[in-house]
């Protein structure tokens, strides 16, 4: 069908062993780049001194020590808790609201410019306000994360409710489904992929929001650890905290991925991943 498409052509020589070699070569290229990155890191550390750039080995040993004595875990626990609690508090109303408003188009239209404004507003800039209101503890971070997550997920869920296939609804009504059946069996499953797109996008923001608030003002958490180490000119400590934060991001992304795969087994492989990583 695709007439001008480059066909998956292979010159006569190409065979299966050739393809295997290709894959092997690309893997080894990737390993070489990884080694190169560590070499550059090590070289920078030697050249500029451990004071400016902690060496990879030092960072690894410090990270390990932090895990063993629990200091890294202590801070990671707070950041993780802030992100997850805020995420849940923001996401739940954001998912429910579009469903509640489905039968009220006028209310949705009234809310629209306010929601667009809320979505576009720089929520992280609100961090000082939340610190003013809720203090430097965990509450201000949770509030910041929740409000950030809310607007992202709201629009994804709204898109899901709107993208609903009216033919499916009619089909269900013809088949004798009532309003509640339609909501439960057609609208909700149809919107789930959209909700997950929103959750995927929101997840890194929730951790980022918690960390920003911690850097600005806190007495614990990984953001605080980054800031504290930087104040003490301890770059190794900064690196350790950064690695811990990044690990949390990966774990949370993995959790969302896992939940999505479990809930959406009926769907073909998702291509939403790339968008979500923006």
């Amino acid at each position: 069908m695709a007439s001008l498409e480059h066909s998956p052509a292979s010159p006569p020589a190409a065979s299966d062993s050739g393809r295997l070699l290709d894959r092997l070569r690309s893997r080894s290229d990737q390993v070489i780049v990884l080694v190169l990155l560590f070499a550059i890191w090590q070289a920078l550390s030697l050249w500029l001194g451990e004071y400016w750039v902690g060496s990879p080995w030092l960072v690894v040993t410090r990270f390990y020590a932090g895990l063993v004595d629990g200091s890294v875990l202590y801070h990671a626990y707070y950041t993780f808790a802030e992100a997850v609690i805020g995420f849940v508090l923001g996401a739940i109303p954001a998912v429910l609201l579009p469903f509640a408003l489905r039968r009220l188009p006028i209310v949705t239209a009234v809310l629209d410019p306010f929601m667009v404004g809320g979505y576009g507003a720089p929520k992280l800039a609100l961090a000082p306000l939340f610190i003013l209101w809720f203090g430097i503890g965990i509450e201000s971070k949770i509030a910041l994360v929740a409000i950030t997550v809310f607007f992202i997920v709201y629009f994804s869920a709204l898109a899901g409710v709107r993208a609903l296939d009216t033919r499916l609804v009619q089909m269900a009504q013809v088949a004798g489904a009532n309003e509640r059946d339609v909501a439960r069996h057609i609208i909700f499953p149809g919107a789930v992929p959209y909700v997950f797109t929103g959750l995927r996008i929101a997840m890194p923001y929730s951790i980022g929001g918690a960390v920003v608030a911690e850097i600005i003002s806190a007495n614990r958490g990984l953001g605080y650890l980054v800031q504290l180490s930087a104040m003490n000119f301890d770059t190794t400590g900064v690196f350790v905290a950064l690695i811990a934060v990044t690990l949390i991001v990966f774990i949370c992304n993995g959790a969302v991925d896992f939940a999505e795969r479990r809930l959406l087994r009926w769907r073909p492989a998702s291509d939403a991943k790339l968008q979500a990583s923006v």
Partner: protein, 272 residues
């Protein structure tokens, strides 16, 4: 028959009209309600927690007329624009360079994609340590925050270019450079615009966050300095102005996108 249809149409259109009035009235009502809630909230919670909207408005007016507020806006915008330009340049140039080097692309891609996961704001203390307390750390932050969405969009855009259009252009005698400019660039323009909608407001927000942490001017500095001095009105002024600034930029980008992508079939996106 026709008269009946006409009557129906009329009824339908008046219904639509009424609906529009209701929506407009509702929006105005809600805006008033929110302002009222702010006002009442200020009285209930006390001036330390919520600044009185009237005082905020007054402060904005005096700030603008004295030029002080304008100066803060200028500082923030200048920083955002420079950082944005840096991030955007690398975000666009790198995919075009990588396009010609499939082997290198394949080798570095997993690491670039993994680095997306690093929370960039957490790097600020490190940047301050390395690059001092002038504009440099903030520019690194803004540059990184802008680079990623632009790079990912342009990279994906180049991958998704319709091979058939490229082949058509080749058959018609176009050189590689012409294909880059004509087919590839135009194909990814909508991806690029979508990434700008994310990146430009983000650049402003990043400048503000950067100013929270380091610097002696700009909207972020204004907000954080006011907070530390328990000047709640100042905090609110900064936040109101920053929000307005970002929303104006958003609106301008939506408008620009419509102009640039006029050739696209009418879009149904929700402008979020």
């Amino acid at each position: 028959m026709t008269t009946q249809d006409g009557a129906l149409d009329l009824a339908e259109s008046t219904k639509v009209k009424w609906r529009q009035y209701a929506v407009t009235a509702g929006r105005i009502g809600l805006a008033v309600l929110l302002l009222l809630a702010w006002k009442i909230g200020a009285e209930r919670a006390g001036p330390l927690y919520v600044a009185d909207p009237v005082l905020v408005a007054q402060r904005i007016v005096t700030g603008i007329s004295s030029g002080e507020l304008l100066y803060h806006i200028y500082v923030t915008l200048r920083l955002s624009v420079i950082g944005f330009a840096i991030g955007c340049f690398f975000g666009v140039a790198l995919p075009f360079v990588l396009r010609r080097m499939p082997r290198v692309t394949n080798a570095v891609e997993p690491y670039i994609m993994a680095s997306v996961g690093v929370p960039k704001y957490a790097l600020v203390p490190l940047f301050i340590l390395w690059f001092g307390i002038d504009d440099a750390p903030k520019l690194w932050l803004i540059g990184f925050l802008v680079f990623y969405p632009v790079f990912i969009a342009v990279f994906a855009g180049i991958r998704n270019v319709d091979r058939r259009l490229v082949n058509m252009a080749r058959v018609a005698g176009a050189s590689e450079a012409m294909i880059s400019r004509e087919v590839i660039w135009n194909s990814l323009l909508s991806f690029f615009m979508a990434s700008l909608k994310i990146a430009l407001p983000r650049a402003v927000s990043a400048a503000i966050i950067g100013e929270f942490l380091v610097g002696d001017a700009g909207l972020g500095y204004l907000i954080e300095y006011s907070r530390q001095n328990f000047d709640t009105v100042g905090v609110f002024v900064g936040i109101v102005v920053a929000t307005a600034l970002v929303l104006i930029i958003n609106a301008a980008l939506v408008w620009l996108d419509r102009r640039v992508n006029a050739w696209r079939p009418t879009e149904r996106d929700m402008q979020i």
